[in-house]
């Protein structure tokens, strides 16, 4: 159970607050894991009263909470929710916030512990952090703590990430800074370490001797929706690969940590980031495919091309799809490629890691022209979190016919209790002071260092790699298939 504290959400009238943060806090309360002395303060520009804020949140919880909404739990929870109206740049607003938090400490026993959640655009970070410091909100009373949670995107390249880190670390110590990547809060992402290090059968096989390659896929059928301007400045590589997918890669590729302390785990992840083979412009041209969706069909309906989306340039060169081949240059992963792909307007919404093992020797059943498939261990991050293992099996009958079969474990149906949402786990951890599932400064900067090389190659003067088109609703450009076909491999069927 975390200590009593006040959670202050900057950007409280934003979508994330309504869809994720408040439903997550509500569910933690419904599970009985929230301390009795807890205040939630929404900080935003719009004019609202505590009551009107609560009424809006009540509706949002009814709509977005995984456990629905119980009137009894809501009444108890809503009582602890407050609204603080202020401009982000108004120093006086922060002074009033400080007074209000002190008052809540006194009235509700939150003991001076504060968790600030920056659910705002990165351009607002610096101003908010400076004002927090000026109002003395980055420090607190003796024996209490102040922490800050920062939402992605954490920079747009290495230089901006370093600058942001400097800004944050001027106000909060690194150990009190929680860079959130909601993928890491998913039950299956957390389970990767358990799967690897708590099962005697997997860890001995988890290396270049037995693993042929690894595929990490993050697919979604949605287009850019209302996020055109943001996406235009970001693209799939920066939006997804730099953070979510490299974090997953780290969990799959890391060495066992010495213990489960936050920094022990993060030390190992950083080693993976440092081992990523840097890409030259030639490597990028050969091993990275960038694509953009054209018009096509999703779910039986026609959908428009990216360039025809709202507030997107008709000549846009922004990638909505990336496929890349990555090498982790260390002892364990020698010559084992990691194929990563991410895209919008793909047929399914799914994030999965597939560990493809090497084929059995071509002596008995692999002897013919038709090779039998490899064993594949799939870790489904979302949706339908779970794990499956594909193996080969003889079909019943006199003839020797081998077909793949699948052992499947689903979190959703295997346990009596539903998995908590990622934000529930992450908020709970931040309140408890456990930073294991949050990215550290050196992880973030290391990931940018790797990604920047690709971005530079894409945008360098002269011969840039092409932007490949793919029809919406397909599995990406044919060049991405060729990327694996060159190595005698193919993307797995999802």
């Amino acid at each position: 159970m975390p200590q009593p504290c006040s959670v202050v959400i900057f950007g409280a009238s934003g979508d994330l607050t309504y869809r994720k943060l408040i439903p997550a806090l509500y569910n933690i309360a419904a599970d009985g894991d929230l301390p009795a002395a807890l205040s939630v303060v929404g900080f935003a520009r719009r004019e609202k009263s505590d009551e009107s804020f609560r009424a809006e949140l009540k509706e949002a919880v009814g709509k977005f909470s995984r456990s629905g909404r119980s009137d009894e739990v809501w009444a108890s929870f809503a009582d602890r929710v407050f609204y603080h109206r202020s401009e982000f740049g108004d120093a006086d607003g922060y002074q009033r916030l400080a007074e209000r938090l002190n008052q809540l400490d006194a009235e509700r026993g939150t003991r001076g512990n504060r968790l600030f959640y920056l659910s705002v655009a990165p351009s607002e970070f610096e101003g908010i952090l400076e004002h927090l410091a000026a109002a003395g909100l980055n420090t607190t009373v003796e024996g209490a703590w102040t922490r800050v949670i920062v939402e992605k995107p954490f920079g747009t390249d290495l230089a901006t990430a370093q600058e942001l880190n400097s800004v944050v670390n001027k106000t909060f110590r690194e150990k009190d800074t929680y860079r959130i990547d909601h993928f890491l809060g998913k039950e299956t992402a957390q389970n990767i370490m358990v799967l690897r290090f708590a099962n005697g059968i997997f860890e001995p096989l988890w290396n270049h001797r037995y693993i042929d390659h690894i595929q990490i896929t993050a697919a979604e059928p949605l287009g850019v929706e209302q996020r055109g301007p943001y996406y235009e400045s970001s693209g799939a590589l920066r939006d997804m690969v730099q953070n979510h997918l490299l974090q997953l890669l780290c969990l799959v590729a890391m060495e066992p940590p010495t213990d489960l302390a936050a920094d022990s785990v993060r030390d190992e992840k950083v080693k993976v980031v440092r081992s990523l083979r840097p890409m030259s412009a030639e490597d990028v041209a050969r091993d990275v495919v960038r694509g953009q969706y054209a018009a096509g069909a999703i779910g039986g309906a026609e959908v428009r091309a990216y360039r025809a989306e709202d507030r997107v340039s008709p000549q846009s060169m922004t990638e909505t799809y990336v496929a890349l081949k990555v090498h982790v240059d260390n002892w364990r992963w020698d010559d084992v490629p990691f194929y990563i792909r991410v895209g919008k307007r793909l047929p399914k919404g799914a994030t999965e890691i597939a560990v493809q093992f090497k084929n059995a020797p071509s002596v008995l059943f692999n002897k013919g022209a038709e090779s039998i498939g490899a064993n594949v261990l799939v870790i489904r991050i979302q949706p339908d979190e779970g794990i499956s293992l594909r193996m080969q099996c003889k079909m019943p009958g006199a003839a020797l016919r081998i077909e793949p079969v699948k052992m499947d474990f689903h979190y959703g149906t295997s346990f009596g209790k539903a998995s908590p949402e990622a934000y529930e786990r992450l908020l709970l951890d931040a309140m408890s002071g456990d930073a294991t599932l949050f990215a550290r400064r050196d992880e973030v900067e290391g990931a940018w260092r790797f990604i920047d090389l690709i971005e530079e190659a894409w945008h360098a003067a002269g011969a840039q790699p092409p932007l490949c088109e793919y029809p919406a609703g397909s599995w990406g450009p044919k060049e991405a298939d060729e990327l694996l076909a060159r190595d005698g491999r193919s993307w797995r069927r999802m």
């Binding site: 039986g300 047929p347 399914k348 003839a399 016919r401 793949p404 797995r492 069927r493 999802m494």
Partner: protein
């Protein structure tokens, strides 16, 4: 969804975006005994008329008794004036062989009306059970408009050339599609499966070395087939030609030349009854014949040798109905080289 389409057997109508959610609900039994969901393949059935939806659903329900799968039943009606999509989800549950547990398979049905480019492939791609093979049963003629990106995804393409209006054109179109898409799928023709037990019976005639000695003397082959089953008889003939290395000499009268430069006369006659009701190999003084009466489940084999010996025995006749053919197909290996050889031998006759 069209107002006139009232097919309760298709299950629950669902918006396409809610299919996965509705499938989960199928398995949420609350406090009741939990059924076991089973799937070894993705079994996609492609048809072109709404009438075929009910028929195929009944067939899938029976099929899932022996073959656990996720079934995708896709009906494409391009002639509709406006594009529209309807979907249903359903589960087919059967008691396991042990009798204690209910084992269920999912069926997702789509009715795609009108024309939208890329819609069929998206529907297939987005509803596959991951990491399992895709068996795609393409009912009726091969459409020129099938998206070539679909072919590489198919592990086993099931067709029934008996239903084709113009087999020669259809085979040519199929070969061209597969070649251009560099497909590595296995092609399975239910019409070829119809000949399976006859092929096995004919092969078995010559397992005995004493019988095999008569094969080089083969001079005439007579097939009797039901009306509408000429292509079945031709596939059986093609198998003989392909396996024995014959080349077509003349199509009327029908004559092949054996690898030993002997003339083999072929006679195809039409007669009501079983798809293939008789097959006789005339090897001079020896003859090998198979006969099947329409209502019988067995083939009658008859061997007459020059020394006066006369043997008769019965053999299983094999599958007749579409369901039986599919059942048989599911138990077969994946190679299709003999089929392609047979096809090459008879293509000019189709």
């Amino acid at each position: 969804m069209p107002d006139t389409l009232d097919l309760p057997q298709l299950g629950t109508p669902v918006p396409v975006s809610q299919i996965n959610r509705e499938l989960k609900k199928l398995w949420d039994t609350g406090t009741g005994p939990a059924p076991t969901r089973a799937s070894l393949i993705n079994f996609a059935v492609y048809c072109r008329s709404t009438e075929a939806l009910a028929e195929n659903t009944e067939l899938i329900a029976e099929f899932t008794r022996n073959h656990a799968c996720r079934a995708l039943l896709i009906c494409v009606c391009r002639q509709a004036p406006e594009p529209h999509i309807s979907a249903w989800v359903n589960a087919h549950c059967h008691l396991s062989r042990a009798g204690a547990k209910s084992v269920c398979c999912e069926q997702i049905t789509f009715l795609l009306e009108g024309e939208i480019k890329g819609r069929l492939t998206n529907i297939v791609f987005s509803h596959l059970d991951s990491d399992l093979p895709l068996y795609f049963w393409l009912q009726g003629d091969i459409s020129e408009r099938l998206n070539p990106t679909l072919w590489p995804w198919i592990d086993r393409l099931i067709i029934d050339s008996l239903a084709w209006t113009n087999p020669r054109d259809q085979f040519a179109r199929l070969q061209a599609s597969l070649t251009s898409a560099k497909a590595t799928l296995t092609l399975r023709d239910l019409n070829w499966t119809r000949t399976l037990y006859l092929r096995q019976a004919l092969s078995a005639f010559f397992d005995a070395p004493a019988h095999l000695a008569h094969l080089p003397a083969l001079q005439a082959v007579r097939f009797q087939h039901a009306p509408g089953h000429r292509s079945t008889a031709l596939l059986l003939l093609g198998w003989l030609a392909g396996q024995l290395g014959w080349t077509l000499q003349n199509s009327a009268p029908l004559v092949f030349e054996s690898s030993g430069n002997r003339r083999v006369a072929i006679e195809l006659t039409e007669s009501p009854g079983a798809a293939l009701s008789a097959c006789t190999l005339d090897c001079g003084e020896a003859s090998f014949a198979i006969r099947r009466d329409a209502t019988e489940r067995y083939l009658h084999a008859d061997i007459r040798l020059p020394d006066g010996h006369h043997f008769q025995h019965v053999l299983p006749a094999g599958p007749d109905t579409t369901l039986q053919l599919l059942d048989e197909e599911m138990t077969r290996g994946a190679r299709h080289a003999p089929y392609l050889r047979a096809l090459a031998a008879i293509t000019p006759l189709l």
